[in-house]
Amino acid sequence: MAGAMPDEMMSSRRATGWRAAAWAVCLLLFLAAPARAQTGTSDVSAPAAQPLQSVTFIPQWEPQAQFAGYYCALQRGFYRARGLDVTILRGGATRPPSRLLAEGKADFGSLFLGKAIIDRAAGVPLVNLAQMVRQGSLLLVAKKARGIRVPADLDGKRVSMWGDEFRIQPNMFFATHGIAVIPVPQGFTVDLFLRDGVDAASAMRYNEYHAILNSGWDPDELSVFPMAEAGLDFPEDGLYCLESFWRERPQAARAFVEASIEGWLWAFAHPREALDIAMSYVNGANLPTNRVHQQWMFDHIRAAMMPDGRPENVGRLDREAYETVARALLREGLIADVPAYEEFHVRLR
């Protein structure tokens, strides 16, 4: 049986590719049908008959391959085909999506699941339209040279972490291993870690981890503790709008999500072109990054969006995952109570 294993695995991987393509086709048909039914117009491919609805979208960070699917949806005309005239705002530290949504400066935003639950509890009535990144990429990274090889080695060490919602998993991780660390706020870079200002740092696998590698550290010189593998797999990027928007313009919200998913699936099918498109946004923002890094990010985001390799599941928020995150937030005291899954999440898929 052992001998048969690789073949099975290979054939299943191959089948996944075909299945992906097949599902992409089914998905398009499925998406097209309700769009036609709801808009009531005769043909979705002739949207000129209907005036385009202007909407804005705010990603939670600077332009990068993390948002490649949205850029692709825009560039390839998937939004326009669904009657949307989408403006993608430039994200960044000073433009948190919750605030822009609350202020009415954006219609749709991309937020981490935990952050969205916290913000909703804090009074921003966010609704999850789709859970795009379904697998967590958060890591704790340390240098082996500083004597950190197993989680217990972190005890009493300085560990840099981002804001509240990024500390839930590490804190649970530390509790699990019965250790206490000295938390240090983490900025936008891993420079403090690289300069040994801290012993360990938080890192997204698709971003900071690669930045560390490309600052001259080899994987075998690093101890990496992935939160997802420690049973702390929190979904990340999701698409959100305000409850009011969802109530008033459900078709627009639905169209936005469908086109976004189509953009991502197209990007996965055309990684080179998708990266070209993403790089045009990156370069437009004059960001100090490069294609190699964006390629890494794209590849890892793709894996995080389809942990099961099934395109039909892209965008799905699992109740269990939601409740795991929400309960963790509750336990950490970041929220007072857990919003009902049905209230928080609009099941579009």
């Binding site: 900025g187 403090l192 690289l194 300069r195 930045a211 490309n214 100090p288 190699v292 890094h293």
Partner: protein, 657 residues
Amino acid sequence: MSGSAKTPPRRLGLAVRLAALILTATSLLFAVAFGYNYQQSRALLLKNVENSAKSLTMATVSKIEEVLHQLQTVPEAVAQGVGSHVIEQPQALVMLADFLRDTPEAFGGGLFLEDHARAGQARREAPYFVKRDGRVVYDPLGADYDYSFMDWYMLPKHLGRPQWSEPYYDEAGGNILMATYAVPVWQDLDGEKLFRGVVTVDISLESLQRIVAKLHPGISGYAFLVSRTGRIVSHPNKALIMRSSVFSRAEEADDPELRTVGRAMVRGQQGFARLGGKAIGKPIWIYYAPLPGAEWSLGLVIPEDDLFADLTELHRDVVLIGAGGFTALLLLVVLIASAVTRPIRLLARKTIEIAKGNLDVDLPVVSRSDEVGDLSRSFHEMRRALKEYIANLTETTKAKERMESELKIAKNIQMSFLPKRFPPFPDIGAFCLHAQLEPAYEVGGDLYDFFLLDEHRLFISVGDVSGKGVPAALFMAVTKTLTKGIAEQDPDPAVILAKVNNELAEENDAMLFVTMFCAILDFRTGELAYSNAGHNQPVLIGADGAARFLALPPGTAMGPIPDLSYETRRILLSPGDTLVAYTDGVNEAQDEAEELFGNERLLGFLRRTRERAPDLLTRALFAEVHAFAGKAPQADDITVLTLAWNGPDADACPGLR
């Protein structure tokens, strides 16, 4: 057949082989010398290049350090002053503003204090100056601006010492590359150092980039600067600045060598390394050294082509000269070798002709005093000797031919005189007669004769002339003629011999002599009268087969001495008696061991044989002698005459049946 069908093995001339040998040896020497020279000069050059790259790099490093150091002093003084309360905040801000005004590289600067340092107060705006259109403007950061998690704030705070930030583009979105130098402010509180905040200056890296850009070693070499994360800060290719790092370039091109160099650079190491060119596109040498202050690293890139351009050109020239030299050498060697071997080749060709017999070919004249000259002279000598020898040989051959023709004549003379018709007297049955003479190669002077003197008397003779050749043959002819003439006049054997002797003795200057046995048979009665002149004893075989030598009267050989007397003896034959007369060619015949046939063997044979017919008996005797002699050459004429008396009334010879 197959051997001749094969193509002959490829022959390489001496000249070609010599040239090949010399050129191979020379090439090897040249290649070794060239390779050694190339390696050595390469190593030497590399060492020199490393040294000059090192001094260039270090000079630039100290230049950059100098610039950075100048920019660092004022912020450090301000931080020191604020921390120790030597100066108050307003004063510090004035110092910062003055610094910005006086320092073209400085773009902004501020004082950012910890919130708790202003205990009891709400968070206030942070004082910050920035240059706008060349003027220093006070532009405080809003109270809601949380800088506590900015790198330029956290790095000095957590590391406890001034820090250069990673480079970044200015906030205004321009293209000016900046870096912030942030100095922590420490307050001494009861002996405990308390972090109060940071003093920052934002500094344009343009002047650094200019310094680095000035550095371009070789033809297409260049220098580049990387930050402590390997990010490219200065590079001739502007598109790479800030966007790429040595590591991203290495990853892009899958160039682990570049990554290794990058790791050494960001770790503040100094070194000289070769990169295969996966990322750069061509092999390069790189010298790198750290900037101690900012912990950045400066790299000096020298393309290997440039590095070895002169060396390559030099060695190309050497190779070209070498190739030219080889060609010249090849021509020279071929020329010399063919000049040396030309006479040899010519001689070889001529020798073939000489071997074919053409001794009159033109032999080349080589007037050199070397081995080839010697060879040529030897050839001339050889030809001369050959010619002489052949001339002699021709002469000898002619003489021999002449002699041989004389011998033939002699033989012809000899044979023409002998009666050769057998049976000679077919009408007479009283006796049978057969004779045979077998001349040796060199003609001897044997003779035999027989004729009827009247109707009942037969004369027979067997003789042997001394000497050989024509004289002997002529002497034999004379003897035979004389004998016949005299016998017809005076039919007594002794008288005949005496008269013939006298005739021969006259004018016999050559002193030739002839032995002879002659006899007259009265074939009515069987009386045989015979005489002897120094001849062998004939054998008489009785009818009963008993053979015995016929006793001969003494008598000297005829010829040299005149007036000799001979004796005639008479015996009476019985019918069936056979007389065998012969010359010494029979009994003195030799076998291969030079043993003589001898009288005993002769007598033995004649007793043994059953042949009675004279012709058969004669032939049998010849056969016996030949069988005895085997392959030994016949030295003398062999003559046998056999006479059988059948009785007076016999009507025919038994041999004529």
